[in-house]
């Protein structure tokens, strides 16, 4: 997939640096997801049970000049794509990086599952 780079210069210390990988948008499109449906949301989960929710709008639109990335490499020294040498604190093979989240709280290391949910057309609310 086409690789993009994100320089997270305003994030927290364990996320600062240059991250590279495909956009989350391109991964969803490659999977056949209708990324034009703004009544849908995306749950990104990690192997440790952590997860975050993104609206399809924020997946499909840039923050500044940057889309959300599924980073698979880092030029900051933060371990990612560590294979058999992974140690505590590593990021597995892919880490969700969000330019809109400078607290990096919604960044997800060790991504292993992405599920797209679509609201029914006549669903009055989320219940």
């Amino acid at each position: 997939m086409t690789q993009e780079t994100f320089n997270a210069s305003s994030s927290t210390t364990n996320t600062n640096g240059i991250w590279t990988g495909p956009t989350l948008l391109s991964v969803l499109e490659a999977s056949g997801v209708d990324t034009r449906d703004m009544n849908s949301y995306v749950v990104i989960s990690a192997t440790d049970g952590y997860a975050t929710v993104l609206s399809m709008y924020e997946v499909a639109h840039k923050t500044g000049s940057q889309f959300d990335l599924l980073a698979i490499s880092s030029a900051s020294g933060t371990s990612i794509n560590c294979g058999t040498t992974c140690a505590a604190g590593d990021n597995g093979f892919a880490r969700l990086t969000l330019p809109n989240d400078t607290a990096a709280g919604r960044w997800v290391s060790n991504v292993d599952e992405i599920v797209v949910y679509t609201l029914w057309p006549n669903e009055a609310n989320g219940h």
């Binding site: 703004m38 952590y50 997860a51 975050t52 993104l54 609206s55 590593d90 809109n100 400078t102 797209v116």
Partner: protein, 169 residues
């Protein structure tokens, strides 16, 4: 006794005044709040309104680091208009702990006397319901077994699940 009652009423009125910085309108806000219930909407910045409703969006105990990881990241907000139009926001894009700039999503009076939502590419006319929905429980490190990821699966309604490894990405 009468003095106390009067004082309590005055304090209650003051609290209501301070907690509602915009006009109340015919709209219900409900869902995943610390104190569940059906509340009235107020015409102001959407995040400010949600923070001032029902004790704020649910933050179960024990709390996670509220400025970095918190339970609200598993929620989304659905705003619905009388014509059926909807706008969906993740709580994370509204919450200024995560997105310092926020979305600018604001409820404002329209020419017909209703209240419209506009902000960050989404709009709803004549808003009548705002629902905060817990989409997924957040639990960093909750799972006892958490190997490092080597692949991921993308799935969803209407699509065939796709598996990606490093080479695929």
């Amino acid at each position: 006794m009468k003095k106390n009652r009067g004082l309590i009423m005055a304090i209650a009125a003051l609290v209501m005044l301070l907690s509602s910085s915009g006009p109340v309108f015919a709209c219900t806000v409900e869902g995943d709040f610390n104190t569940p219930g059906a509340y009235s909407c107020t015409a102001e910045d959407l995040w400010t309104m949600l923070e001032g409703t029902g004790g704020g969006i649910s933050q179960p105990s024990p709390p996670m680091n509220p400025s970095n990881h918190n339970w609200r990241e598993g929620d989304y907000v659905l705003v619905t208009g009388k014509d059926g139009s909807r706008a969906l926001y993740s709580v994370g894009e509204l919450d200024t702990n995560f997105a310092p700039v926020g979305t600018g999503a604001t409820l404002t009076l329209n020419k017909k006397g209703g209240y419209d939502l506009a902000g960050e590419g989404r709009a709803v006319k004549d808003v009548f319901n705002i629902d905060v929905v817990k989409a997924v429980p957040i639990g960093k490190g909750v799972e006892t077994v958490h190997p490092f990821s080597t692949l991921l699966v993308v799935s969803g309604e209407g699509i065939t699940p796709q598996t990606y490894n490093l080479a695929d990405l």
